[in-house]
């Protein structure tokens, strides 16, 4: 294979992965009873793009598979077939196969040709199936025939209601093409797509004549319109021109023409009319939400309403569907407009930039320290320059750091599939809710959190949610709920996995722990008992299944989370449910800290753990049983942690009341850290000690101070917890 193509492989692989992910999201969102045309189109487009790319690179297995997908999808979106849940299953499986094939071409693992053939066969069978019943066929035909009318009428209604300002956004293009050889379903589809781009106005009717001409007001570029049309229309017969004067008002005569067009169209579609008439008619309210509110000052609007009324009654059966389709289309139409453009940058480049900015911050701090020694009167300009530099550096740092921040939806989006598959396997009915998908966290954390979260979700599903019969017997709804929630709290991000399942069984866990010889007793707090489930090899499941029960997963979860500097909490009530919350630092790279001095050494205390700092009087310090000092702070007795004792340092002051106490709070416990002096507050770049050295007890990392020296960052939570254990 030529090297020219090879350099594009990576791009194709990445794009295909993204397209597959999009496809899956659409598939999972797809409601079998009322499939959204736009979703079907999106799936079709994804399959088509992959097919195109695969064809270019000669990956024939992928081309075949996507082709089969396309064939079936095409029938679905044309309304020739009804969407059924088995099709969605087949699509998902096909997606998996393509993913496997992609990995195979990437050189990671092998695709399974047998499985691919099986899925291909199934897709073929599904697409070859004839329509279920004649009546349904008629209805679906009627539906598809009625669609253009409905859209056209909807257009007029919209035109009548929309204010000139709305219309004026973007440019107006004049589009002409020949519709010969394009069937009505494809046309309807095309118009739906064009409506996504902006506002569509027809100049010449499109259903009967071979020649189409219409105007499109959109904020998108001409290329976007080309792309949309090129799927259906022969590019040679397509003409797009910029129509400069933006049309903002509709004159009466044009509205009249349009309406007469609609009536003509409607009557010509006899089949649709009769099919619709067969079905019991319902009142047509709500068919065109915009129409009744049409302002009377537009001349054509009365007429619009009049001609609408009878039609909507005729279309009674389709009302609900049509309205829901329309509203969802409107919702999705709004989305592309706000979609920001983006570029693809390798993560190394971003990391390098972050490192460089980190260096810049250090240099700036160093300069600031030097400059502060100069006389502020003589060197006024230097000082104002330094201030500006500091501001700019901080802004730059913040914006660079934000590059690494990604919404957690990147992780959450994979779980609907996991839950769907697993629930089907376990014969459980589960709904997955996600809250706070837009919560942002560091990309490094995003990657690492995925596996532990998967374990927790699977665990909730397998052990938490009961089978429907049991749930009903317990007076709950048959369908269980798993909620994934993410939010910021203080300097951390909290991710919760909660279920409304059986909850943890204290007695069972304790019994199992005793059986395994773990050091447990009946007086343990619930919190301590729940944490036992994270012990290696611990499982209360009676049988080992391929889903869970070996007691490996939760142990790995705990270790992964701790590796990220995070903590896990469990809340559970028997019969009500369980909530597992993971608390992670917002970012791995930067921290607000207070620098403290002990002897000739400097340490950084993370600011988010500090409650206050104070200088105690000698009377506030008490000893407990001869050693172990406590300090009384507003009625509370807090253990005193002497930093110099922990780190074997030579302090300048040894009497507590001569130094400073920094009151720390972590995990709900408080302690007082005894240091010589406070130096100042800094924003520091966290550097890993472990990359070249090893983990040090009581230290979570290191940073470089303004003078180029290294200062260690204290692992506050560990210090506080250690003091608590001593106290107990």
């Amino acid at each position: 294979m030529s090297t020219d193509l090879e350099q594009f492989y990576e791009i194709f692989f990445e794009e295909s992965s993204e397209l597959l992910a999009d496809m899956e999201t659409c598939l999972l969102r797809l409601d079998v009873n009322s499939p959204d045309l736009e979703d079907l189109n999106a799936i079709f487009r994804a399959a088509h793009s992959i097919k195109g790319g695969a064809g270019t690179f000669g990956f024939t297995d992928m081309t075949e598979m996507t082709h089969m997908l396309e064939t079936l999808l095409d029938k679905l979106r044309k309304g020739e077939l009804e969407v059924r849940s088995e099709m969605v299953d087949a699509f998902l499986r096909a997606g998996d196969i393509i993913k496997g094939q992609l990995a195979g071409h990437r050189g990671e693992g092998q695709a399974d040709p047998a499985a691919a053939a099986a899925v291909c066969e199934e897709l073929k069978r599904l697409s070859d199936e004839t329509q279920v019943s004649a009546k349904e066929n008629l209805v679906s035909n009627a539906k598809s025939e009625l669609m253009p009318i409905e859209q056209e009428v909807g257009e007029i209604a919209e035109m009548a209601t929309s204010s000139p300002a709305e219309v004026a956004s973007g440019l107006t293009y004049c589009i002409e093409f020949s519709s010969a050889g394009i069937n009505s379903a494809a046309m309807e589809n095309l118009f739906a797509n064009l409506q996504q781009l902006g506002r569509l106005e027809k100049v010449v009717s499109t259903d009967e004549k071979e020649f189409c001409k219409f105007k499109l007001t959109t904020s998108k570029s001409e290329e976007d319109i080309w792309e949309t049309l090129a799927f259906v229309v022969d590019p040679a017969k397509l003409k797009i021109e910029l129509d400069l004067p933006v049309r903002s008002e509709i004159n009466a005569s044009e509205a009249q023409t349009l309406i007469s067009n609609v009536t003509a169209t409607a009557s010509s579609v006899g089949e649709a009319e009769s099919a619709a008439a067969n079905i019991s008619s319902e009142p047509g309210y709500g068919f065109f939400p915009g129409a009744p509110a049409a302002p009377k000052n537009l001349d054509g609007s009365d007429l619009t309403e009049n001609s609408l009324q009878p039609k909507s009654i005729d279309n009674g059966k389709n009302d609900d569907q049509a309205v829901s389709n329309k509203s969802s289309k409107k919702a999705s139409a709004a989305a592309p407009a706000s979609e920001a453009s983006s570029i693809r940058v390798s993560i190394e480049k971003v990391d390098q930039m972050i490192n460089l900015v980190g260096e810049l911050v250090i240099t700036q701090a160093m300069l600031a320290q030097t400059a502060s020694q100069f006389d502020p009167v003589v060197f006024e300009k230097l000082h104002s320059g330094m201030n500006q530099l500091e501001r700019n550096t901080r802004d730059l740092q913040e914006s660079v750091m934000s590059i690494r921040m990604m919404p957690i939806s990147f992780v959450f989006s994979r779980y609907p599939r996991v839950v769907r598959d697993l629930a089907a396997k376990l014969n459980k009915r589960v709904e997955l809710k996600t809250v706070g998908e837009n919560t942002e966290l560091d990309k490094g954390l995003i990657e690492k959190i995925a596996d532990p979260l998967t374990h927790l979700v699977r665990n909730s599903l397998d052990h938490g949610i009961e089978i429907p019969e049991k749930r009903v017997a317990a007076g709950k709804s048959a369908q269980g709920t798993i909620t994934l929630r993410a939010f910021h709290q203080g300097g951390s991000i909290v991710i919760e996995v909660s279920d409304d399942g059986a909850g943890l069984n204290r007695g069972k866990i304790l019994a199992k722990a005793k059986e395994r010889g773990l050091p447990v007793h009946d007086g343990m707090t619930d919190q301590e008992v729940w944490l036992l489930i994270f012990e290696a090899g611990f499982s209360t499941a009676e049988t080992v299944t391929d889903v869970s029960g070996r007691g490996v997963g939760m142990d790995v979860v705990k270790r992964n989370i701790q590796g990220m500097g995070g903590r896990i909490d469990i809340e559970s009530a028997l019969g009500v449910g369980t909530r597992i919350s993971i608390r992670l630092p917002l970012t791995l790279a930067i921290l607000d800290g207070l620098s403290v001095a002990v002897g000739d050494q400097m340490f950084i205390v993370p600011l988010n753990y500090i409650v206050e700092s104070l200088q105690p009087t000698a009377a506030d310090i008490k000893t407990v049983s001869g050693h172990g000092r406590v300090v009384q702070v507003r009625g509370e007795y807090l253990p005193v942690i002497a930093l110099h004792e922990i780190f074997n340092l030579h302090p300048n002051v040894t009497a507590v009341h001569e130094g400073i106490l920094v009151i720390l709070e972590a995990e709900g416990y408080k302690a007082a850290l005894f240091v010589d002096d406070l130096i100042g507050q800094h924003q520091v770049v966290i550097k890993s000690l472990e990359s070249n050295y090893r983990r040090v007890q009581g230290v979570s990392g290191a940073t470089i101070m303004g003078d180029g020296k290294v200062a260690l960052i204290l692992d506050t939570a560990a210090l506080v917890m250690a003091s608590q254990q001593e106290a107990v």
């Binding site: 340092l649 070249n692 090893r694 983990r695 007890q697 290191a702 290294v710 260690l712």
Partner: protein
Amino acid sequence: MPHEQSKIGTIAPSNSITSHLANEFLTFRLGEEEYGIEILKVQEIRGYDSITHIANAPEFIKGVVNLRGIIVPIIDMRIKFRLGNADYDQFTVVIILNVAGRVMGIVVDGVSDVISLGTDQMRPTPGFGSVIDTEYIMGLGTVDERMLILIDIEKLMSSSDMGLIEQSIN
């Protein structure tokens, strides 16, 4: 016979080139002894300056320094090998090494030079008393009257008794 000769003649130079490349050593002094480490493991040489101590670390780990934004641990080889006095003056030198994918520095009494040793100049490790476990000695090198102790620095630095790299078991 002449034919044989030419054959040897063509092979010999290429051999000496490879051995030449593989056997360049940076020599340094620890107390009275001279040591050599593979030059390819050395990243740079710098002076000894302010070090941040690490709590509860072994005595030979002096602490960490900032090497252009990277936190680098510094090991005093004189303390580790109990050789000479661990004085810090203007001649004290830190050799920054790049071993096992990590960056670390070693404090030595002074750096001498870079020499290349042929295979004929290298002797096997004697099996008797040495402050370093003979496991970490590649061999002894002789240059004129000097004797060099050649250390397998990578093996030494990644060994568990240095405690530099966290062992996977715990």
